[in-house]
Symmetry: C2
């Protein structure tokens, strides 16, 4: 049945019932150990005027991200499950990039009346799957009608690891002499998007891996926490593209960056699928949701080791923070030649 | 300049600068006394991956509401300032209807590329004006492009007055024998909307008052707090219409309600402007953002007196909670004849 016929209030009732079931702690379903008392903190979920939970005197971390149909995703290339997953994952990633633990999510949904109720249920399943892996519950939201394009706006609330407000991963925390590193590999999301938009065919494993890299990114929540606990103080997540996002760290910190192209970690699958474009995808593609962070060499060494020992996503050193040019990224090639990066990241309006 | 040419990142920068100025505590600008330490709790506002503030061990109250162009507002009848005001006010009202204190807001904004930067600035001014009156700060958000229709999604976080989770205004808190009351007057918003849509002309004072009732509702934040502090435990805000919203309280509480039509408070201006429709506007119009609450007679007496003594918006008793029919509202006329209300409130899809 279409949501326009089903009605807003019935749809909210149905989702509330399925979410309150899903909100039960599932043993073993969480990749991270929940904060003490996490299971018992929710007082009111969906169904009243607001959600209510027991507060924490730790720092509250709050973020919101919106995705619009045919701007941030296309119905032809993304399933509803993938849409829900990604809308949630991008917010979880923001909390991860501060070194925090996500806890609660609110979802505002604008739906075309002809959307099927089953599609909305699928979307929530995608949201819950990735949220649940990190101990995060959908506790409230709003569903409204939108005549021409759907929109999903997710807000995630989390908490810090410490009461101390210096123990955060800030964009402004990069210092001259820091090494720059990134978790995982880059370019997979851009490659997946290109594959989908251009209708490219690869072997089944590559097709599946590239699609997942684009549509179901896994936010680096335990990695962010491990980094902040080991003394790292500067990070952001790679959402708009490595070069553009690194430039934002430089602007916020009043420093420059040298990025060694040969060091940028790119999945071999992306290189072989797009032999002419893999570097552009890694530098400018965006939406990889890896953590980009900086730290003095000694702390960096400990942090990289901590990721490895804990069996988390490993990270690679890709450059260093320098005094100049302030707010800019120098791309350094294998011969040591450096040039200022020209292309920016993805701008939602200019793009 | 249009936002499509100006660019997303420049727009966020500009708003961040104007909001960080506006975020300074303005003496006398707040209608409510801020919570202890309110001015110093914000650690990171707009400009990093997330907002960060010092947590509170009180209960956290969280709500999100979305407004879509040509569904919830029309560019012909609402200024950008009014749109911002109302999008923020509806969320503040949800926090008020739990008896909480709003503190922080996040704003997700989807804009058509041809929207003017000055219009966005106006919208934020409207948001800040009403948020600032209640000590609430806009601390983060997201701005994205939307090709066909604008959308504003606001999330507001607040806190309870007590650590005790029984000291809240819940929809499920109504008990048989409770009196039912509502703050202020009803129908003003519906009358304002009818005036705007039908191009009706009244004297300047009426026109202005009806427009404000529709476009710039004032959420009952100090009233909600006064009620919960005086022992009231059941409330919601009138957003979809008195009868429909009262029915939701009845469903959540497993009770019925008798509503005395003659007691429903309606502004005389609404009666004289719409002599044939004022009662429908008061019963079904919605968006008045008054507080609808129930309490045993003794507590109700104290609560009404407390509102009066504090110089807050007064409230009127309009009915009582009964055993049957469960989940339904009986409308009682002057002769004591009762009928089950037939029309529901506003459903965003069905409407």
């Amino acid at each position: 049945m279409q949501v326009g016929r089903f009605g807003e209030f019935r749809l909210i009732d149905q989702l509330a019932r399925s979410l309150s079931r899903a909100g039960q702690p599932r043993s073993g379903a969480s990749l991270t150990s929940p904060a003490p008392g996490a299971e018992n903190d929710l007082i009111i979920g969906i169904g009243d005027d607001t959600a209510v939970w027991r507060g924490s005197p730790l720092l509250t971390i709050a973020t919101t991200d919106a995705m619009v149909e045919n701007v941030h995703y296309r119905p032809e290339t993304a399933t509803w499950y993938e849409l829900g997953w990604k809308a949630m994952a991008s917010n979880l990633s923001d909390v991860a990039s501060m070194g925090g633990t996500p806890r609660y999510a609110l979802v505002a949904l604008a739906l075309r009346p002809e959307v099927e109720v089953a599609q909305v249920t699928e979307m929530y399943a995608g949201m819950e799957e990735i949220a649940g892996r990190f101990g995060t519950q959908v506790v409230g939201g709003d569903i409204v009608s939108s005549p021409t394009a759907c929109m999903v706006s997710v807000t995630v609330l989390g908490q810090s690891v410490s009461f101390d407000d210096s123990i955060l991963l800030r964009r402004s925390g990069a210092r001259v002499g820091d090494q720059i590193a990134v978790t995982g590999t880059l370019g997979g999301s851009g490659a997946g998007l290109a594959m989908l938009l251009e209708g490219k065919q690869f072997d089944a494993a590559t097709t599946e891996a590239l699609r997942r890299a684009h549509a179901q990114p896994v936010p680096r929540v335990p990695e962010g926490r491990a980094l902040v606990e080991r003394g790292v103080r500067a990070a952001m997540d790679v959402s708009d593209g490595l070069v553009g996002d690194l430039a934002k760290v430089c602007v916020a910190s009043g420093v420059g960056a040298r990025l060694h192209l040969v060091a940028v970690p790119v999945d071999p699958m992306v290189r072989s699928a797009f032999p002419d474009r893999w570097l552009d995808m890694a530098l400018y593609g965006g939406e990889d949701y890896e953590l980009l962070f900086t730290a003095p060499p000694e702390i960096m060494g400990r942090a990289l080791q901590a990721l490895e020992v804990a069996g988390l996503t490993p990270a690679t050193v890709i450059g260093e923070i320098v005094e100049e040019p302030v707010g800019k990224v120098l791309l350094v090639d294998e011969q040591g030649r450096a040039g200022v990066a020209e292309k920016g990241g993805w701008d939602h309006f200019a793009g």
